[in-house]
Structure formats: structure tokens, C-alpha cells
């Protein structure tokens, strides 16, 4: 693994005024000056990659990543076409774009690269690249904002990007092209009359900038949904660029923030903000969101047979103890006999048994697979579809998920993963999967040091590739 890292993050406004007519309004000129300042800082940081997450490039089929090495065209804004045209010719890091796409797939995230002559690069990306990278000296990559993506998906998108940055040794700068409040005046105005659309929007913007100035990026991420409801037009779901940028900064709250400018652009809140990864001395995160490593794609709407995964079912329960899980065997409530240990954070059993049972100083766990609690989804994907047709899956993602589930059960018992003494692992395809499984083992349980036996078996009750049977030291009761 190389020592690639993020050397800075920036938040920049999307509208074309700062490129085309900054001189028409003092505020627009201050934003333009801040762009120029940011460009210099990026150069001084010796960055070798600019990564743009743009809210003005919406997508539906997962996320899209620009992979045309030299996209060229003339951009005209849908609203502000009378301000003029912006010809562009960008230097895209095609190799990084493909690597990011591959990394997304490995983390269970749908994405695709686009490389088409004449593809319309969006206004936010054009403005950001024109002003932050005026001589095209730094290769860049642009990613869309998926209109349906939730926080989990957006976080995984950031993590897979970091995977590639680290693996390729890049010194990357992350940029979100976005407005703060995005309510514009709904009629043309004179440039001199520009101001933030409402006092309420202005107050929210200043609160956001106060947080960012203190380097509290993750706090802004956690306020995203509230901010969206308060000061955003209800179009693109949530204030999601902050989720991505926080993910890119490993959800930290102690960055060094610097608000370079804050002004109105046709009523919307535009700010240029620099977030330096250097710790500011402020307290770090209080991270209470789901820290997702692998996206398990809760939608799957193309597959009618998986609809029960996505929608409430009116079907009657099979018994008082079982629930429907869509495809696959029925799920049971874990039994609650003497010395049983059960966790709400672990997937439900597929039969009548508890998650674990304490006997003397030992804790015996029932076989643990990678299914996710609540959704029953399988990180890395199921190994077969509902008709038994084989599917591509990620054994590493599945193995990680198994170990996460074991951890949750042990924590429920008052212990930890460090208490594991003996593991029997079951693989449905030893030839294909042993290498990946063994790699994850070495990074996790291998460091704890339990004894281990690995067996090849024909099948498991759900479409998973790996299951583990664990004996652990029981935590002392006092």
C-alpha cells in the first residue's frame, strides 16, 4: 500500500457568475478572488489530483465518473445563458476514474465511467475546474451526485475513492461544487441588488460556515438532512455533498477550516471554504451515524423477486416466531433459553436457536454469516439469484461482514473480538474464495490469534459463501 492521502478539501459555489462576470458585483468578485486564493493553495500543497463531487451533475443509475481524458465543449448555463458561454478543455485522470469505479464495485456500489464526445460537463464542475485549475496542470476526476443515494451509499463512495488515493500514492484535493442555501431569486435581478434570498437562509449559512471555520465537517454532515429541509429547494435529496466530503476526511471534526469568502449569487449562498487535514486542536467527532464499509444495495428494483427487501409486505407472518425475508429461508426470533445471548445488532437466525450460549467460562456462538441485521442484505452480494443462477460476489466483503456480526454478538455478551479462542470456518467454494477469506482473516482475527479450522462444504442455508462457528472466552460476570 502506498502513502497516498488527501491534502486538502474545498467547498466552492456552482453558478457561472464568478467565471463570466465577477466584476459586475463586489460579492461575486470576492468569491472570484477566493477561488484564485484556493487555486494557489492547491498548487502550494503540491496536489496531483483534483476530485470534484458536483451537485449540478445528477445521476440515476448509481454514480457516474467522467473518464474522457480530454473533454472539450462550450458550456452555457440553463438559467444564466445571457451571461455568456464558457469553452472548456479539461485534463481528466482516466486511469484514476476507472480505478475508482472498480473500487466502488468492490465495495458493493453501483457506478460507471462515462467517456463520450460531447458529454455535457455540468456548470458546477466547469466553474470549479476553470478557477481552481486554470492551467489544467493538475489531472482531475469528476463524479456525479446520485439523486437516490442515501448517506450509506455516499459514504461508501468516499471510502472507495480513498482506497484508490491510498493505493496509488496520490496527493489529492477533494472539492464539492455546491451552494449552501440554494434558493435563488425566481426573477431576473440587477447585479447590484444581489443578496442572500432571505434572512433565514443567511442565518443558516453563517451557522454552517461557523462549523466549517472550526473544522467541524462531520457536524455539518450530520446536520445535512436538517439543513436541506431548512434552506434548500426540495429537489436533490439532502445536503449530500457534505456526506461525501466528510467521508473523504474520515468523518473528522477537527480539521483546520478557513472560510475564504461567503456571498450571494442570485440569492443563493455561495462560499469558498478550505478544510486542511491538519488537526485544529478542536475536539474530534461524535460520530453517531452508521459507519458503512460496504454498500449492500437495498433497492434491487430490477429483480422483482427481491421486492420484499425494499417494500413493506402485507403478507401474514408465517408464525409468531418467524418473519418473511423475501427470498431464502424464513427468519426466526432468537430463542431465549437459560444463558442465551442475543443481539438486536446481529442478523436473525434461520432456525430455532440463540445467537450464543454461555457455558461456564466459555461462549459458544451459533454459525455466523454475513447477512446484515434488519435488511438481511449480503455485503459483497449473494452467491446465487433467486433461481439458483450463480452471481459474482466479493468474498472479502462477506468475510468482513461475518467478523462484524461476530463482534456485535460478543459485544452484546459484554466481551469483544479479542475473546475469540477457536473458529471453524465453512466456505462453499474453497478454490475461489480461500485467498480472499484468508487475507481478511489475517487483517482481523489473525491478529487476535484463535485456533482455526477451514472446511469446504456444498451449501449454506442462505446464498452466502462463508460462515464461522466461534468459541470465545466468556467475559467475567463481575
Amino acid at each position: 500500500m502506498s502513502d497516498g492521502k488527501l491534502v486538502g478539501s474545498y467547498i466552492v459555489p456552482v453558478h457561472p457568475h464568478t467565471v463570466l462576470v465577477p466584476e459586475q458585483n463586489e460579492g461575486w468578485q470576492r468569491l472570484r478572488n477566493a477561488f484564485d486564493d484556493a487555486a494557489q493553495r492547491i498548487k502550494d500543497a503540491d496536489a496531483d489530483l483534483l476530485i470534484i463531487y458536483s451537485t449540478t451533475w445528477p445521476s440515476i443509475i448509481g454514480h457516474q465518473i467522467q473518464a474522457n481524458p480530454n473533454p472539450e465543449w462550450v458550456m452555457v448555463d440553463d438559467d444564466f445563458h445571457d451571461l455568456g458561454s464558457i469553452p472548456y478543455s479539461f485534463n481528466i485522470d482516466e486511469e484514476f476514474a476507472h480505478a475508482w469505479n472498480d473500487a466502488n464495485e468492490k465495495r458493493g456500489l453501483k457506478s460507471r465511467t462515462v467517456n463520450y464526445t460531447g458529454f455535457p460537463i455540468d456548470v458546477g464542475s466547469v466553474v470549479a475546474l476553470k478557477l481552481l485549475n486554470p492551467d489544467n496542470a493538475i489531472p482531475s476526476v469528476i463524479v456525479s451526485s446520485n439523486v437516490y443515494a442515501n448517506r450509506a451509499e455516499t459514504t461508501v463512495l468516499a471510502k472507495s475513492c480513498l482506497d484508490v488515493i491510498k493505493a496509488t500514492g496520490r496527493k489529492a484535493v477533494a472539492v464539492t461544487a455546491m451552494s449552501l442555501s440554494n434558493r435563488m431569486f425566481t426573477a431576473p435581478i440587477e447585479p447590484k441588488d444581489d443578496r442572500i434570498h432571505s434572512l433565514k437562509d443567511d442565518e443558516w449559512n453563517r451557522k454552517i460556515l461557523e462549523f466549517l471555520g472550526e473544522g467541524r465537517l462531520e457536524d455539518v454532515g450530520q446536520l445535512s438532512r436538517t439543513i436541506h429541509r431548512q434552506i434548500r429547494v426540495q429537489k436533490v435529496v439532502a445536503f449530500k455533498p457534505m456526506w461525501w466530503l466528510s467521508g473523504m476526511n474520515e468523518n473528522r471534526n477537527n480539521l483546520t477550516g478557513d472560510v475564504l469568502a461567503y456571498e450571494a449569487i442570485h440569492g443563493a449562498g455561495g462560499a469558498v471554504v478550505h478544510l486542511d487535514p491538519k488537526p485544529s486542536g478542536a475536539g474530534d467527532k461524535e460520530y453517531d451515524e452508521d459507519d458503512v464499509d460496504f454498500f449492500h444495495g437495498e433497492r434491487n428494483v430490477l429483480d422483482a423477486e427481491n421486492e420484499n427487501d425494499s417494500f413493506e409486505s402485507d403478507a401474514p407472518a408465517q408464525s409468531a416466531q418467524t418473519t418473511s425475508s423475501g427470498a431464502g429461508p424464513a427468519l426466526w426470533e432468537p430463542t431465549t433459553g437459560e444463558n442465551s445471548v442475543n443481539s438486536q445488532a446481529a442478523p436473525k437466525p434461520v432456525g430455532m436457536y440463540p445467537h450464543a450460549r454461555r457455558v461456564g467460562d466459555l461462549l459458544y456462538l451459533s454459525g455466523v454469516g454475513p447477512r446484515q441485521p434488519g435488511t438481511n442484505a449480503i455485503p459483497g452480494g449473494p452467491i446465487t439469484d433467486a433461481n439458483g443462477n450463480p452471481l459474482e460476489y466479493d468474498i472479502k466483503a462477506q468475510t468482513h461482514a461475518v467478523i462484524d456480526n461476530i463482534t456485535r454478538i460478543l459485544e452484546e455478551a459484554g466481551g469483544s473480538i479479542d475473546d475469540v479462542l477457536d473458529v471453524t470456518s465453512f466456505l462453499v467454494d474453497m478454490d475461489r474464495d480461500f485467498g480472499g477469506y484468508n487475507e481478511v482473516w489475517a487483517e482481523t482475527l489473525g491478529k487476535v490469534g484463535p485456533t482455526r479450522t477451514t472446511l469446504a462444504i456444498r451449501a449454506l442455508p442462505t446464498p452466502i459463501a462463508v460462515e464461522m462457528k466461534v468459541i470465545a472466552k466468556a467475559p467475567t460476570s463481575d
Partner: protein
């Protein structure tokens, strides 16, 4: 109609020459009055153009979405012998937040690449604008207090919604267009406010068409329910994967279609807020409200030429044959 008009003119003849002049002028105006020959709901998913394999589009398909493409065929057949001068089209994919905009130059020619489905739609277009009619509608909208702007930047790229509907409705592109943007007042305020503005825009569109002396087709380019799949089949035109995203979406689509088929435009307008919210309908762009208002909230049945889903969204091709239901002047 003539009898009705005669009864309006006759009393004025008896009051002297001045009245006669005015009446004759009004008569002349009436005789050349413009007319809406049809109004259509004409959705724009780029998949339809992709599946048609026209020479203008770069990607090549093995067909797909035939139910809808045949629906467009039936719509074209229905209007084959109908004379008209221009097409007025509102597309939800030219999204403007600062008022309603109109393409304001005589010709636009370029390559349109769909930013969402670039694998399906890379279309070389060459379309003409009826600038005169555009200006008339624009000016009347401005007079009515709507925020409007003419788009006169020659580098502007026309959105794929306009091009898809334009192509599917009139593949020969032999009629000039009036292209109206989708004002996103729904996003700013509510469906109710959006509808209020679109109804006003519809009224002035109708007025302008009448005053223009032209025969016109009006097209609202939008889907009904609009919840997409978030994954795409390896073969996008694999119809074994195509269906509505949920039962609720189907029920809403059928409810709207029933209103279309039974001439209940007012009920559509009344239920627009619920429909738009619950079916995540593309009526949020204002096209359907504008169309119904332009048609003066028709009470006669529309013709359903086709219905089908595209990547999970519900799409209907519907025609209100306005030419068969001319206004009675009283």
C-alpha cells in the same frame, strides 16, 4: 359557429358605420384566428429514440419499448392528414429556476448527449424555432406578470427531453418549434404554486396561438409516475426487466389515464398535488398542468395511444383532438 358570430355582428350593423368597421375588423381577425389542432402528452425518455435507431443517434439498439413506440406511431398516424404550422413544446429537462425561458433563435444545431443515459442518447439535432410565435407567447406571459426570458445564446445546447419528444412526434423535423423551459416553482414552493403559474402560462399560450393565426400542436413532454430503477440491465433494451417500480405507481398512472379517457381534466388538476407527491410524478415540471390549461381544461375524452414503462417510470402517449372540439363563440 357562423350563426353564432352573425348574431353577434348583426345588432352592431344597425348602429352606424363605425360599428360596422369594428365588427368587420373583428370578423377578419376571427377568420384568421389561430387554432390548437391537438394537445398531447408526449413523454421523452431517451430510450425511445435509442430503440428507434434513427441515423441522428449514435448508439444502436435491438429494439425495445415497442408498446410506447407503437403508441407514438398511432399518434403520428392520427395527425398525418392534419395541417398545422408549428409545435409548442414544454420540456421538463430544460430546468430553469429564474422564471420560464424560451428558445429565441431561429435554429439550433449540435450534439445532445444525455447526462444520465449517455450510453443511449447521443443525438445530432438540427431544429428550427418559430421565433414569431415564441415572442408572442413570451410577451403575453410577461404581460401576465410571469418572469420570462428569451434564450438567445447560440452556444446553448437543447435538452434531450425536447429532442426526444420532438423526434418521436415528428421524426422529419419539418415543423418549427416553440420550446418552453420547465420553471421549477414546484421545487421552490409547492405543486399548488407551480400549477397556478402553469395555468396562467397555459392561458397566455392559448391566447397567443389564437392571435398568431397559426395552427399549432401543443406537447407536454413528461412521464406520469417517475420512480426510476437505479440499476440498468446489461442490455438496456432487455424487456424482460421492464416493469413499473411499484403497484402504487401503477394505480396512480391508471387513475390519471382514466381521467384522460373520460374527459375529466379538471379532476387531474384538482388531484395534481397528491399525484405529483405520491407518484413522484414528472408532472412536477409543470408540463401537464400547462397543457391542460392551454387546452382550456378539456371536458371531452382524450385518446390513449399507448402506455408503457421505461426503466420503471410510467409513460402515456395521449392526444386531445382539439380540432374536433372547436370552441363555440357565444
Amino acid at each position: 359557429m357562423a350563426v353564432l358570430f352573425e348574431s353577434w355582428v348583426q345588432p352592431r350593423f344597425r348602429r352606424g358605420n363605425a360599428d360596422v368597421d369594428i365588427a368587420l375588423k373583428r370578423l377578419a381577425c376571427f377568420m384568421t384566428q389561430g387554432e390548437i389542432v391537438a394537445g398531447c402528452l408526449a413523454p421523452h425518455p431517451p430510450h425511445l429514440v435509442y430503440a428507434e435507431n434513427p441515423p441522428q443517434n449514435e448508439p444502436v439498439a435491438e429494439g425495445g419499448w415497442e408498446q410506447l413506440r407503437w403508441g407514438y406511431e398511432r399518434l403520428r398516424e392520427s395527425l398525418k392528414d392534419v395541417e398545422y404550422d408549428a409545435i409548442v413544446l414544454l420540456s421538463p429537462h430544460w430546468q430553469t429556476y429564474v422564471g420560464t425561458h424560451f428558445l429565441g433563435l431561429p435554429n439550433f444545431k449540435s450534439l445532445s448527449v444525455d447526462p444520465v443515459f449517455p450510453n443511449l442518447f447521443r443525438y445530432h439535432y438540427d431544429l428550427n424555432i418559430d421565433v414569431e410565435l415564441t415572442s408572442l407567447i413570451h410577451d403575453k406571459a410577461a404581460d401576465a406578470g410571469l418572469a420570462v426570458k428569451l434564450m438567445e445564446n447560440p452556444d446553448f445546447r437543447v435538452d434531450y427531453g425536447t429532442i426526444t419528444t420532438g423526434h418521436m412526434f415528428n421524426p422529419s423535423w419539418d415543423k418549427p418549434l416553440v420550446v418552453i423551459s420547465s420553471n421549477r416553482s414546484r421545487d421552490y414552493y409547492s405543486v399548488e404554486v407551480m400549477q397556478e403559474m402553469m395555468i396562467e402560462l397555459g392561458k397566455v399560450t392559448r391566447q397567443a396561438i389564437k392571435e398568431s393565426g397559426k395552427k399549432v400542436v401543443v406537447l407536454a413532454s413528461n412521464s406520469l409516475s417517475h420512480r426510476h430503477f437505479t440499476t440498468e440491465s446489461a442490455i438496456p433494451e432487455d424487456m424482460s426487466k421492464e416493469h413499473i417500480t411499484s403497484h402504487a405507481m401503477h394505480l396512480w398512472d391508471m387513475r390519471m389515464i382514466e381521467y384522460f379517457r373520460t374527459g375529466q381534466a379538471q379532476r387531474i388538476l384538482d388531484e395534481m398535488p397528491e399525484f405529483t407527491e405520491q407518484a413522484i410524478a414528472e408532472s412536477d415540471g409543470g408540463g401537464l398542468s400547462w397543457l391542460l390549461s392551454t387546452l382550456d381544461t378539456p371536458t371531452y375524452p382524450a385518446t390513449l395511444h399507448g402506455y408503457g414503462t421505461i426503466i420503471g417510470t410510467g409513460n402515456a402517449i395521449v392526444e386531445w383532438p382539439e380540432r374536433q372540439h372547436k370552441e363555440v363563440v357565444e
